[in-house]
């Protein structure tokens, strides 16, 4: 209590300082007079009496100083004073001030930007109410790999779980929007009815989906995203209740989503309810394609939900053995979204912190040199009684003030760069549109700025007040040695070199990894190849009755369409080869199946059949993409519905299942035999096509450059073993592929004017986009490392020039006495070499310890790659020594007379 009262009194004391000062002056004057009078009564003269009284008081000024400190909060007082002093110093040396401000603004600004990204992705919750309750619910295989869920299983989980408030499932499909205007291909999220409720995002206008919308026949309703509603329908509210034509069927618009709604980066223009016709093959254990998101009940955790759902999963497996080997995994949606970028982000945040540390070391050096110039001033102040701690505080306040001003500039820079981040594609960095400067970013920036100020100010301030006033004053104007200051400078520079080396090695590893990725033989020739997506509406192109009976002929119309398109394009001038495929390389392992190999005994369940990637092709796909044929023959126009059913396999398939032998002649199927299919889920006349392998093609990286190619089975669409409504056109051209696009559109319009060409890209740009993320990481880290190298070089240069200037007289004398310039150079460089050596040694140790964090980001290069370590060390040492050599050489060029005259 008493303390609090004292604090309150002292805070109050801050405000009427003048009255307090005046009163105390009067009190002291009275005290002195009384004392003098007493002394005079004891027989002293007035002068003696006054002198004695003053001595007993211990000095009027000192007493007032102590009293003042006691009366108010000296800290707050000092702060105000120090800030004033700091501002005065900043104004007095504008050059120095602007350099420091610039360095701090850049250093802190880069940190702010990185942190705002990290904050958005890793720290800030997803933009849904109580987002921490949201969980990604996933079916995973035995080895922990994520798989999708079949609709019947989802319905079980949804109905029987006890741990979730709600569980929603979703998948995404392209839909064709037709009508009065230009046909358009849009991305549609097909969701179970509780999807928006689970996220707790109500539509901006209109209604949410309800269970009734899942009923087949009542399911043709659609919610539009705000952006799509504005673009396509001019934000017309009257659209509610009106039908639009999706995939050639009328869908009633029932709502519009709020502006900015994004389902964690899944780009979609509309939402429709998930609904299956009775007997639809999609709604069976033949198709696993759903993702699920759930909201935990209060009290439930991811772990308890996992137990709960796996109980249901076990029950399903007991009934449906084809699910064997799978289980349910539940984890935070937030963590799942950023999983891919988290390691890279943390590495970059660390790297940018390193750059700031190096910048701090440089600023500290700059301040140290200035401190040397101010030694006399400070020695003088100490000699006349200034408190060292007080001066230390003042110097620190000066640097913190500089750093805080720099931090304010940094915020400005960050604000501008964050705006630019929004233009990044989602694939490179998720949720960039959400990145903004919020309270957490402001707090972080303030903290970093203050820390920066303390960091670069502490050592110089400490060195400044650590002077013996007598010595410093005796030194005179001659810039004398401040050996401990020099040691501090050398240590700082060695530290900079160490930090820069760690960053450079990290960047070097990333570059080498990127190079390794670029060297990967993707399995095809991307030059002059144009690709584009074409999707046909199911209504018009798929016979759903036949499909329900698992008849390949169901897709005959779709197959004919793609065959016609290929024929149309083939006859275009400038086309060397043309084909189509159901999934392009580098798009991911999108169509997985289990193959039946008839040359060996059947396993007991479907999941034990060899997993393969399935691709339906049309036209000259292999020639168009330059995929080599290793044996046998490619598909020909003769491979039609009537002919013997054929397939091609990839080399990996042959290697894995036929021990590298030529697979031509083997018989396989891409659908399970009836014995392995759950009873009742297929019609009694179900009989999968047997395909005879007619050739082997080279391996193609369908998933990504960084993963080993999976085994692939190719089948000609014309034989329709299993059909599709989406194909990618692959056109090898003789000249610029993009110049073909308008003519290409025209040809396709001739086949069917309602089918839009979308996703038009050269194959080269697809390849380059597939490494966009590692490239971005390498470039950003490389930029930081380059900055670090530059800063470190500047640091060495600064320290060496300073040392050379300090020793000018000594050098002059040595040269006057006959020392050669080589000897002088050796003398000066010795220190520089020692600094570099210490820095490099420390940096190498640091790099060995820290590059481990890069391991998950690297491809084809070890985290301690000796070549990178050695090469980068040589480069850094060379730059460092050059930076040391320049000032040393200049010192030897100085005529001795000039150096001696120097005062």
């Amino acid at each position: 209590m008493r303390r609090l009262r004292v604090l309150a009194m002292r805070v109050l004391g801050l405000f009427d300082r003048d009255r307090g000062e005046r009163e105390f002056a009067e009190e002291l004057a009275g005290h002195l007079e009384m004392h003098v009078e007493d002394n005079m009564r004891a027989g002293m003269t007035y002068e003696e009496a006054r002198r004695a009284a003053l001595i007993r008081l211990g000095g009027v000024e000192q007493t007032r100083e102590i009293y003042r400190d006691r009366r108010r909060l000296p800290l707050a007082d000092m702060l105000v004073q120090d800030v004033r002093f700091g501002l005065r110093m900043m104004r007095r040396s504008p050059g120095f001030t602007s350099v420091v401000l610039l360095v701090v603004a850049l250093g802190v600004g880069a940190n702010t930007v990185m942190f705002s990204v990290v904050n958005t992705l890793l720290l800030r919750p997803l933009p849904y109410p109580h987002a921490s309750e949201l969980q990604l619910v996933q079916t995973v295989s035995e080895d922990g790999r994520a798989a999708a869920t079949a609709p019947p299983d989802f319905y079980e989980y949804r109905a029987r779980n006890h741990s979730l408030q709600s569980l929603a499932s979703f998948y995404s499909r392209p839909f064709d929007l037709t009508g009065a205007e230009e046909p358009e291909r849009i991305r549609v999220l097909i969701v179970s009815s509780e999807f928006l409720g689970t996220l707790r995002v109500p539509p901006a206008i209109g209604r949410e989906l309800g269970p009734a919308d899942e009923r087949w026949g009542d399911h043709r309703v659609v919610l539009l995203t705000d952006a799509f509603w504005r673009r396509r329908f001019g934000a017309d509210r009257a659209i509610l209740g009106r039908p639009i034509t999706l995939n050639a069927e009328p869908y009633t618009v029932v709502g519009v989503l709020p502006r900015g709604f994004s389902f964690v980066g899944l780009e979609a223009q509309a939402l429709v309810p998930m609904s299956f016709a009775p007997g639809d093959n999609l709604n069976s254990h033949n198709n696993y394609f759903l993702a699920m998101v759930g909201r935990l009940r209060s009290g439930a955790t991811a772990a308890t939900a996992k137990v709960d759902l796996n109980r249901i999963s076990a029950a399903i497996i007991a009934e449906h053995p084809e699910n064997r080997g799978t289980q349910i995994d539940v984890r935070s949606l937030q963590a799942a979204v950023v999983e891919g970028v988290k390691p890279a982000l943390l590495v970059l945040l660390g790297a940018v912190g390193f750059v700031l540390l190096i910048a701090c070391a440089n600023l500290a050096n700059l301040l140290l040199s200035r401190a040397a110039a101010r030694r006399r001033e400070i020695a003088l102040r100490i000699a006349i009684g200034a408190n060292r701690r007080r001066i230390l505080g003042q110097l620190l306040a000066e640097s913190v003030l500089l750093a805080v001003c720099g931090g304010a500039l940094a915020l400005g820079l960050a604000w501008m760069s964050v705006g630019a981040l929004g233009s990044f594609p989602q694939a490179m960095l998720p949720r960039t549109e959400d990145v903004r400067i919020d309270g957490a970013v402001l707090a972080y920036t303030a903290l970093v700025a203050v820390l920066t100020g303390v960091l670069f100010g502490l050592v110089p301030a400490w060195r400044s007040v650590d002077v013996e006033p007598g010595d410093a004053l005796k030194e005179g104007a001659r810039t004398g040695g401040d050996p401990r200051g020099n040691r501090a400078r050398a240590t700082l520079v060695a530290g900079e070199i160490a930090l820069a080396l760690v960053l450079l090695i990290g960047a070097g590893l990333m570059m080498k990894s990127l190079q390794a990725l670029a060297r990967v033989d993707a399995g095809f020739d991307a030059r002059r190849v144009l690709t584009a997506q074409l999707s046909v509406p199911r209504k018009k192109y798929v016979d759903e009755a036949l499909e329900r009976r698992f008849r390949p002929e169901a897709y005959a119309r779709s197959a004919r369409f793609f065959g016609d398109v290929v024929e149309q394009v083939r006859s275009m001038p400038g086309v060397a080869a043309v084909g189509a495929v159901s999934g392009l390389p580098l798009m991911g392992d999108v169509w997985g199946k289990n193959a039946t190999l008839y040359d060996r005994p059947l396993p007991s369940t479907v999941t034990e059949l060899p997993p393969i990637q399935y691709r339906v092709v049309a036209g000259d796909y292999f020639r168009a993409l330059g995929i080599p044929l290793l044996s046998g023959r490619a598909f020909t126009p003769a491979d039609t519905e009537g002919g013997a059913k054929v397939a091609l396999v990839s080399r990996e398939m042959a290697r894995r299942y036929w021990n590298r032998a030529d697979p031509v002649g083997q018989v396989i199927s891409v659908n399970p035999p009836i014995q392995l299919v759950p009873r009742g889920s297929v019609p009694p006349d179900y009989k999968p096509d047997r395909l005879t392998i007619i050739g082997a093609a080279g391996d193609v990286h369908y998933a990504a450059l960084s993963t080993t190619p999976s085994p692939v089975v190719y089948a000609p669409f014309a034989q329709g073993s299993e059909g599709t409504t989406t194909m990618f056109l692959v056109v090898r051209t003789e000249a610029d592929p993009l110049a073909m696009v308008p003519a290409l559109r025209e040809r396709i319009r001739q086949v069917d004017p309602d089918i839009p060409l979308s996703n038009v890209q050269t194959m080269e740009s697809r390849v380059s986009a597939s490494v966009a993320q590692p490239r971005l990481q390498a470039v950003v880290l490389g930029t930081f490392a380059g900055l670090a190298l530059l800063l470190a070089a500047v640091g060495i240069y600064g320290v060496m020039s300073y040392a050379a200037r300090q020793r000018r007289r000594e050098i002059g004398i040595r040269m006057a006495l006959g020392a050669g310039s080589r000897a002088i150079l050796t003398l000066l460089l010795g220190k520089g070499i020692a600094m570099v050596a210490v820095g490099v040694a420390a940096g190498l140790l640091g790099a060995v310890a820290l590059t481990r964090t890069l391991r998950t980001l690297l491809y084809g290069v070890s985290a301690t790659d000796p070549l990178v370590f050695a090469g980068i060390t040589v480069v850094l040492a060379a730059v460092a020594l050059l930076a040391a050599l320049l000032p040393a050489r200049r010192a030897t060029k100085l005529p001795p007379v000039l150096a001696l005259r120097e005062e």
Binding site: V6, E33, E37
Partner: protein, 112 residues
């Protein structure tokens, strides 16, 4: 001034309180002189440290002050004990007495 010594750490405040308790309102110089007299001129107060100590007591609420007229017809600041200050004086006196008696046992010639 041989034989004189400075004020032991932490005792000045108590001396001030006891002096004011005994003498009633006093100005700073008077308090200092009174403490020296009470000590039999054995203590020598650094007057410069007295005023911050008075200020501290004032901030703690143990004493209050106001302007008055001194015995020589001069305007002077007078300090007066508050009720809280009287309590504080009593409590600190007991504490010091206890400390002194404990210390006395250590300082007494051993009786073994």
């Amino acid at each position: 001034m041989a034989g004189q010594q400075g004020v032991p750490q932490g005792t000045l405040a108590l001396m001030v309180l006891k002096t004011l308790e005994a003498m009633g309102p006093l100005h700073g110089y008077g308090i200092a002189r009174r403490i020296e007299q009470t000590s039999g001129e054995l203590l020598s107060i650094n007057y410069g440290t007295l005023y911050p100590a008075l200020l501290k007591l004032e901030q703690e609420g143990a004493i209050t002050c106001g302007w008055g007229v001194s015995e020589h017809n001069r305007r002077a600041k007078y300090y007066r004990l508050t009720r809280a200050g009287r309590r504080q004086a009593g409590q600190e006196t007991r504490e010091w007495q206890q400390t002194a008696s404990i210390l006395a046992r250590f300082l007494a010639p051993s009786r073994s």
